[in-house]
């Protein structure tokens, strides 16, 4: 599903964010991406949905190099990758329903399809009762659920979560992890960048460790380490 060959990223300011990363992630895998701040986790994620291009090396998704995509193909690539962020990134002037529907609207889904899919996906993330609430009326965990609903409403093959529990208390974090786990169980490849040692240690999934831009570990049933 995802491959990186000797992928390196140097930023214009001289920072070497990634150095010679080789990795392979299979379809349907559940992967934690760990490492201290500035280790290159964010850059790793940005390379995957092509917000950045590698300075060297290759990034291959579903058998195709994404390095030399035309901009119209970039949009197609991104439809197959859902992203969730630490700060949720919801539109504050819209309800939960509208936030999720927004993703479908910009992909030109019809009214009918939107009215079918959005309630269905809100039910999946357990927010049916809050469809009409605005983000400021929702708790952090609920906002993250809306963000996840928006990320998966188009059935992407890959879901990337960048510190999805970074702003949440431990109980809520577990609820969110559980939801992500459910999504992964239905076949979506899941990559979670996190600092949450306890979650990583408890879930015992594949752990990819980055440090100063280098891949330092890749354990099949890993723990956070240190």
């Amino acid at each position: 599903m995802i491959r990186m060959y000797n992928a390196s990223k140097d930023y214009a300011n001289g920072v070497k964010a990634l150095i010679d990363v080789n990795i392979q992630i299979a379809k349907g895998e559940f992967v934690f991406l760990v490492g201290p701040s500035g280790a290159g986790k964010s850059t790793f994620i940005r390379l995957l949905f092509r917000e950045e291009l590698p300075s060297k090396g290759q990034v291959i998704i579903a058998g195709k190099s994404i390095v030399r995509l035309r901009s119209s193909k970039v949009a197609v690539l991104r439809r197959n990758i859902g992203v969730v962020f630490q700060d949720f990134r919801l539109l504050s002037d819209r309800t939960a329903f509208e936030n999720v529907a927004f993703a479908l609207r910009v992909l030109q889904f019809s009214h009918k399809e939107i009215n079918q899919r959005v309630p269905e996906i809100l039910r999946q993330v357990g927010l049916s009762a809050k469809a009409g609430s605005y983000p400021h009326q929702l708790s952090g965990g609920e906002q993250q659920r809306v963000a996840i609903a928006r990320a998966i409403v188009n059935n992407p093959k890959i879901l990337i979560a960048d510190e999805p529990t970074g702003n949440l208390d431990p109980d809520t974090s577990w609820e969110i992890m559980h939801l992500l786990y459910e999504i992964n169980k239905r076949g979506t490849t899941l990559i979670i960048a996190t600092h949450d040692k306890k979650i990583v240690d408890t879930m015992k999934r594949r752990v990819i460790g980055l440090e100063r831009g280098r891949l330092v570990r890749d354990d099949q049933q890993g723990v956070y380490g240190l």
Binding site: A75, R78, V83, L91, A103, V106, L107, H111
Partner: protein
């Protein structure tokens, strides 16, 4: 083909921005309206001036008087020389007898002018020269005046040059003002759209993340400028239509010797061009901002 839902979404986005940008939108619409109003006014002025010039044109002739003692042969050569000049449309020869006859006519029947003049016709042979373009009158007249056989050249000297220099001046002034105002309109629309781009930063990011195509992201911004420009020029076209109708009915009642364009279809077509002009200004304005500030 774009889906109806999509079009509604894109236009809805654009209209929402226009509403949210309130004052800036009004300023943009106002500037477009003023610049298109001025453009329309000057266009009508220029077109009417051209009509007036056309009317005058048919009356502009050069009278060429040959020396009274010129021989038949000299007159023929002069005739040919004038006819072969560039820009000359027609030359008609008026012999001295003919000239005397027409003078007699003016005095009325019963006068024997020739006798009262002592049997000698003092009138010279003359030519009436018409030129193709009234702007050439003074030039052609100067050339003819230089011929050795030609005594005097007469035409509405100064009058025509003055008219044309005024018309030119009006045209240049109009063009200058319109260009400046158009730039201001483009600039204001660009700022308005830029405000929208910044206000919509979050939406743009999310659109990118969920895989919206570039054109889809750009369209609402482009539409915003287009709508602002069109609304502004619609305002201008309406204002021009009503004030020009008023003017025409006033002029026809009071100074009806001034020729005015009254062809309704022609004027409506002109206003349609203004509308298109406003839409183009708006599109340019938003294109500038979208290109500069919307990195997708």
């Amino acid at each position: 083909m774009m889906k109806l839902t999509t079009i509604r979404f894109l236009v809805g986005q654009a209209l929402a921005s226009i509403k949210r940008n309130g004052m800036m939108s009004l300023a943009s619409i106002g500037t477009v309206a003023i610049s298109m109003f001025v453009l329309g006014t000057f266009l009508l002025l220029a077109l009417n001036a051209n009509l007036m010039a056309d009317t005058i044109e048919t009356n502009v002739e050069i009278a060429v008087l040959v020396y009274p003692d010129a021989s038949e042969e000299t007159i023929d050569t002069t005739y040919n020389d004038i006819s072969s000049l560039n820009g000359v449309m027609s030359v008609s020869h008026i012999g001295k007898d003919e000239a005397l006859a027409s003078l007699e006519k003016q005095f009325g029947e019963g006068h024997d002018l020739l006798r009262s003049l002592g049997g000698v016709n003092p009138l010279p042979d003359s030519f009436i020269v018409k030129v193709e373009n009234p702007r050439l009158v003074s030039e052609v007249a100067d050339v003819i005046g230089g011929f050795s056989s030609v005594d005097k050249v007469r035409y509405g000297k100064g009058m025509i040059e003055k008219l044309f220099s005024v018309l030119d001046w009006v045209r240049w002034l109009g063009a200058g003002i319109v260009v400046l105002l158009s730039l201001a309109a483009v600039f204001l629309i660009a700022i308005t759209v830029r405000i929208t781009v910044f206000a919509r930063g979050d939406e743009i990011t999310i659109m990118k993340y969920v895989g919206a195509t570039n054109w889809f992201i750009r369209w609402p911004f482009f539409l915003e400028g287009l709508i602002l420009g069109t609304l502004g020029s619609l305002l201008a076209a309406t204002a021009i239509y009503f004030s020009y109708s008023q003017l025409v009915s006033y002029v026809i009642l009071t100074v009806n010797f001034i020729p005015l364009i009254t062809d309704k279809e022609f004027i409506l077509r002109l206003l349609l061009y203004l509308l298109v002009g406003g839409a183009v200004l708006g599109s340019i304005g938003s294109a500038v901002s979208v290109r500069k500030f919307l990195k997708v």
